[in-house]
Amino acid sequence: MTLDSEYQLVDLTAIHSEGTDSMSEMARDRVTKKWEVFAGRNRFYCDGRLMTAPNGGVFLLTVFLITGTCTLFFIYDCSYLAEKVTVAIPIIGGLLFIFTMSSLLRTSLSDPGIIPRATPEEAAYVEKQIEVTNSANSPTYRPPPRTKEVLVKGQTIKLKYCFTCKIFRPPRASHCSLCDNCVDRFDHHCPWVGNCVGRRNYRFFYMFIVSLAFLAVFIFACAIAHLILITKTNDGQFLEAVKESPPSVIVATICFFSVWSILGLAGFHTYLTTSNQTTNEDIKGSFASKRGQENMNPYSQGNVCLNCFYILCGPVTPSLLDRRGIVTDDYRAEISRPVNAEINQPIKSYGVAVQNGPTQVTMNSTDMPGIYRQTTETTGMYSPLKKHLYRAQHIIPSKNCASQKIIPSQAPLLPPYDYNTPTRKPAINPPLEVFKNSRSLPQLKTLSGRPTSPEPANYPTLRPYTPPEKRYSANFGARAPPPAKQRPRSCVYENVHVQDEFCMNRVRSDKVMSLTPKVKNFPTPEFSQMYIQESFE
């Protein structure tokens, strides 16, 4: 603040400029609403009152198709049919159209039942509880994905842990990877509607598809009736009728193609509603009878009518996100508070300078020398990452870490890979003995047949790699712990996922491995240049 006082001494005469400064400061101090700091990928409109999924393109197509078809219908068919048949036709059509559009807008613009993410203290509390249950295992044995089993009305249901939201998901909730939120009673993410369909907007979605089915059938019937009536007046010349009213043909065609899929969808969702299941559960077959063992749906009310009533007219929670609340400093501190974490101390012979006691780890800091084990999530399920290349060159704090254990590696240490040296060869001509013996990267064995250029003298012969027994694989946990070898005195941190653009490009071009497209939807781990290493021997 001494700078300010110096300024004042120098600039005493400029009083009017000071006044404008304070005015602009007031303008800058505008109120931030909570939707602006929302953690998920939703888009908000009307100052937080309306919310949709990130990609709204297909939703606009839906709106355009429905309004376009109905406009053509009202202009061309209704005028004819209103005089020749009855005035009720445009009225019914109009009511159906209004009901359909309002249900569509309700589905698209409302909160589907998003579960807010855990506060840092909550996440730490849950972590501690999980650590307690896993403390029996040795520090080098990575525990399997986190699940918790609960008894729901006598049936055992597994609750999964969501690494993004840091909560154990309630039963029937699921994490939507497109919107990056956990949604309660998650049905599916509908691109046509431009939003997730969950507990709070399922009834609007159901009303939308049922009314759209009625509307499509109605318009189709009216358009065909129109054409037939014209044909009759033209003495049986269908082509003449078409020439007289071409939009009717367009309307009839669009309706014909859409009726099948919409009727099918409406029927499917009617079945789901009567049995009180979600699309997610139906696809996974959670409550289907398997091999004589009948899995009862514990959430069902027992009766078809009761199920329908409960889902369509039952009580619903208000939005759990306070979108339009004002962000106070307390709130900001709450959501981005440093988490007090105790780093588990490995065996001391590794010679790592681990701090004693809890260390402060901030979520947003990039210069924190803490090392984290970082995990990524695939559509809500914790799946082993079999196809990533492990080249842990630069290791840094990750924002998405599940816990902060330091796992000492058995790999010998290497000097850090220097991207800036221009003479450095591209990454993937490594000695492929690493991959030849790999059990979790079988596809790369073919790479070993390629001719590799002679390595420069200072090229490292071995890269930090994860030994096969430590990698994520489908037989997770089934491998025996590695035999005790003499461990180096330094530590390389492993189980770190690196998305190295260069090597990914190379891999893609080789077409040896096909990366699942969902890789693109992961939050990219952000890496800094920090790397802790004791010695190179």
Binding site: C46, R49, L50, I98, F99, S102, R106, L109, S110, I115, P116, A118, T119, E121, E122, Y125, V126, V150, L151, V152, K153, I157, L159, I167, F168, P170, P171, R172, D184, R185, R203, F204, M207, P298, Y299, F309, Y310, L312, C313, G314, P315, V316, T317, P318, S319, L320, D322, R323, R324, G325, I326, T328, D330, Y331, A333, E334, R337, N340, E342, P358
Partner: protein, 147 residues
């Protein structure tokens, strides 16, 4: 669609925020009866000695009863739902849903319990609506976080 009744911050939110950097105990949800909102009545170890079990259980049971009332699917809630559907959900501009009324009762109850039972013992309850109905957060105001 939009939560018309929360045009600004929720009522009393700032005063209900617990201070940072103190020990917090989280009472998790009990899913034995399905997805209805219900909290576990198991007494947490960290509160041993600070709070009587009976007071704790009374609070939790009362909260559970409020939530059960909110989620109870009676004839009147069905009628309300049907009426809302028939009016294209426009009545929610004027009227509050049954659930919202019950949540307001819960807020009032939590504030009252804080005043009478918890704050004299150096504890503070946080309304579960503030935590997305996931947990009931009890802050021990005079203990540092890692105690």
């Amino acid at each position: 669609m939009s939560n018309h009744h929360n045009n600004g911050s929720r009522a009393g939110e700032t005063e209900q925020m617990a201070p940072s950097q103190c020990l917090k105990v989280f009472i998790q949800r009990d899913y034995s009866e399905g997805t209805v909102v219900k909290f576990q009545t198991r007494f947490p170890q960290e509160l041993d000695g600070r709070l009587e079990r009976q007071a704790f259980e009374a609070t939790i049971n009362r909260l559970n009863s409020y939530f059960a009332e909110a989620e109870n699917a009676t004839c009147s809630t069905y009628c309300e739902g049907c009426l809302a559907c028939l009016t294209a959900y426009l009545i929610y501009i004027c009227k509050e849903t049954h659930y919202e009324k019950c949540l307001k009762k819960v807020s009032k109850f939590v504030a009252e319990q804080n005043q009478t039972v918890y704050e004299p013992r150096g504890l503070k309850l946080t309304d579960p609506s503030m935590r997305g109905l996931r947990v009931i957060e009890i802050s021990c105001l005079d203990r540092p976080p890692n105690a």
